[in-house]
């Protein structure tokens, strides 16, 4: 019989006390693992989503954080709008002509290259503020789904699971085409061809029933907040009542000639607004100077979402996570101490058994090893249960998490290494697909538990080592 088998018997002999201590260890490790996993999830969801494909966001003057949360995560309260003419500053004359092709030339005003149009890869306008059920509606241009590329820089970032991208003008649906994210589709059951009526400003009693949009495409899951958004054609968005900037008596579409809504003319430029502009510049240096130029003016502000998100993460999310981690590690220590107390308390009852083992020829170190073995089985066994429990728990919560954050969780996906450690490890290892996958902070758990087990097992084990066999044998049990 091995030391482990003997230790296991001794644990079984005190089944209740043993299972309680192992259970407390399991809970402790469950909490630590859960915190690590959630930490990894949050980090991943933040970093994945801050790799947005664009580097700047322009919006109305105000809080940068609110602008970024609104535009990238569709969170927080809607922000103020910018005039459409500000958006035009990011386009060349040619681009403006293309985008306003449906408008009569005399209504476009005089077009010229925008002030900031040089060195811009793309600028995409978005209009926020309306909702469909609890999903944000994003009024934008078809290029939203065309310019962003996947990580390999070749494939498009967004794929259509069903249907197609919306068009600025469609002979059948006019301006009123929509594309919905995957989660919107699964939660609402909307299919290609269904109608959407937007709620103005998120108010369910103020529904744009005059201008329903037709779903023409459903996005494949992208793991981004866009899975939870409804995208509509910006031209259609402008024509919904209440979206025109009211300056004059002129009503949008007042000069409508046909009988259907879709025959209305595009909204004139001076009545147009945009909530934000997603911008990618050729290079960061230009980005910085662009940011300074715009922020010095009094029309708009430009924020770097990656920077804003990172600082939000650093200053708010991280300290909370650190605190949680410290608390849960303390729970593990307490569980360790309870194992110590449990084994140590049993030592008195076990003096006789230890003496018998010794009389049978067990060496002192063997007896010590048995007691240490008990401590290790309880800590590591309980710990592994807790570790698996945490993974099972998170895995069972994964549909919910995916719906909330767009991050997918596998059953045995490990929590990532902390940044400061990750940079220490050679890139070849991290990027090696299967070794990198196992580079996880969770790998610390088992050695950590072993260390804890040896520490808390040492005192009772030493007591066993020191047992005076003759005395234990002469005193009756």
């Amino acid at each position: 019989m091995s030391i482990w088998q003997i230790a296991w018997r001794s644990i079984r002999q005190r089944a209740l006390a043993s299972s309680l201590t192992a259970f407390s260890m399991a809970l402790g490790v469950l909490l630590v693992t859960a915190v690590l996993l959630v930490h990894g999830l949050i980090t991943k969801s933040f970093t994945d989503n801050s790799n947005l494909g664009y580097d700047l966001i322009a919006g109305a003057k105000g809080g940068k954080l609110q602008l970024v949360l609104n535009t990238t995560f569709y969170l927080s309260q809607p922000v103020e709008n910018l005039p459409y003419t500000f958006y035009q500053e990011f386009l060349t004359k040619e681009e403006q002509e293309n985008e306003l092709a449906l408008m009569k030339p005399e209504n476009r005003g005089e077009l010229k290259d925008g002030t900031y149009a040089k060195n811009i890869d793309f600028a995409i306008p978005v209009n926020l503020g309306d909702t469909y059920q609890h999903f944000r509606i994003v009024g934008t241009l078809p290029k939203f789904f065309e310019v962003f590329k996947a990580d390999n820089e070749v494939d498009p970032k967004y794929h259509f699971r069903h249907g197609r991208n919306f068009k600025v003008w469609d002979d059948e649906h006019g301006y009123f085409e929509a594309v919905i994210g995957s989660i919107v589709a699964s939660e609402t059951g909307l299919k290609v061809g269904d109608k959407i009526e937007a709620a103005h400003g998120g108010d369910p009693n103020d529904v744009h029933s005059d201008s329903p949009f037709i779903v023409v495409g459903i996005l494949a899951p992208s793991g981004t907040p866009n899975d939870r958004a409804v995208f509509i054609n910006m031209e259609g968005f402008y024509l919904m009542s209440g979206h025109a900037k009211v300056e004059e008596n002129e009503r949008p579409g007042a000069d409508v000639s046909g009988s259907t809504i879709s025959r209305r003319k595009p909204l004139p430029i001076k009545q147009r607004e945009v909530t934000a502009i997603l911008i990618r510049t050729h290079d960061p240096v230009f980005g910085r100077s662009l940011k300074n130029r715009v922020n010095e003016g009094n029309v708009a502000q430009i924020a770097s979402p990656v920077y804003v998100i990172a600082s939000l993460f650093e200053f708010i999310v991280k300290p909370i996570q650190t605190l949680l981690l410290v608390l849960t590690i303390m729970i593990c220590l307490v569980s360790g101490i309870s194992i110590l107390v449990s084994i140590y308390n049993s030592m008195n009852d076990r003096k006789r058994e230890i003496a018998i083992m010794r009389a049978l020829g067990a060496r002192r170190v063997t007896v010590m090893g048995i007691v240490l073995g008990e401590s290790i089985i309880l800590s590591v066994g309980g710990g592994i249960l807790g570790w698996m429990g945490a993974h099972l728990l998170l895995f069972s919560a994964s549909p919910f998490v995916e719906a909330q954050t767009g991050v997918q969780i596998g059953l045995f996906e490990l929590a990532p290494l902390p940044r400061w450690l990750e940079v220490e490890i050679p890139e070849v290892i991290i990027n090696n697909s299967w070794i990198g996958q196992f580079c996880s902070i969770e790998l610390v758990i088992i050695p950590g538990l072993l260390l804890l087990a040896v520490l808390v097992g040492f005192l009772p084990a030493y007591t066993a080592y020191r047992t005076d066999v003759a005395q234990a044998l002469s005193s009756s049990p």
């Binding site: 083992m357 020829g361 060496r363 066999v469 003759a470």
Partner: protein, 227 residues
């Protein structure tokens, strides 16, 4: 086989003074000899067996087993020597509670050699009439059954010397005789020297050599003289 010279052992009383328990000038047991030690309670019989087994250490004197003086061995060395050369049966509570009868026997083997002879373990339990209780736990066995397991376990490693400290103390007369027979037969077959402590006159009568500890032990004689 066993040679003891000028063995002295004392304990500290709670008040701190030394209380001598044993002073044995000479005590020898030949190879394959079977003998019993008798004596009143508290005269130091168990203490003597502990010293022979190397469980305790004498204050002075020598204990040689097959020519090796175990008082010179380290604790580790005595543990190993005991496991290889000696079998021990205690008065009561011999068995490890978390293990079955068979496992108790096997455990003795694995501590001693790390190598286990399952056949011999079963054979010994068969010999003590416990084939049907191999997988029973001590708490489900009678005291007599437990003592028989203890005897089987003490013999498992083919010891050269069997120390039995009142192995039949808590057993009814029928079982007592069965256990004594078992011990004597096995020791004879395997040429094991036997030192047995007993309170029972019926048991002692069956042995050719019966040593009263009072005779061997100068401390006891002194106490007697006092009284």
């Amino acid at each position: 086989m066993l040679e003891i010279k000028n063995l002295e052992k004392s304990f500290r009383s709670p008040t701190g003074e030394r209380v001598p328990i044993l002073n044995v000038p000479q005590f020898n047991v030949a190879a394959a000899e079977q003998m019993v030690i008798v004596g009143r309670s508290g005269c130091g019989k168990s203490t003597l067996l502990h010293l022979i087994a190397g469980i305790g250490r004498p204050d002075s004197g020598h204990i040689a087993i097959n020519g090796l003086d175990i008082t010179r061995l380290s604790e580790e060395g005595r543990d190993r020597f005991r496991a290889e050369v000696m079998g021990y049966v205690f008065q009561t509570f011999n068995l490890l509670q978390g293990f079955t009868a068979l496992e108790n026997v096997i455990l003795g083997m694995s501590f001693a050699r790390g190598r286990v002879d399952h056949g011999r373990a079963r054979d010994l339990l068969h010999r003590v009439g416990l084939d049907h209780r191999l997988d029973a736990y001590p708490r489900t066995m009678s005291v007599g059954e437990q003592q028989r397991v203890a005897v089987a376990r003490a013999l498992a490693n083919r010891p050269k010397l069997l120390l039995a400290d009142e192995p039949t103390a808590n057993v009814d007369p029928a079982n007592q005789q069965a256990i004594v027979d078992l011990i004597r037969e096995t020791c004879q077959e395997e040429e094991i020297s036997l030192v047995m402590v007993t309170h029972s006159m019926e048991v002692a009568e069956q042995f050719q050599r019966v040593d009263p500890l009072e005779k061997l032990n100068l401390v006891a004689q002194a106490n007697k003289a006092h009284a």
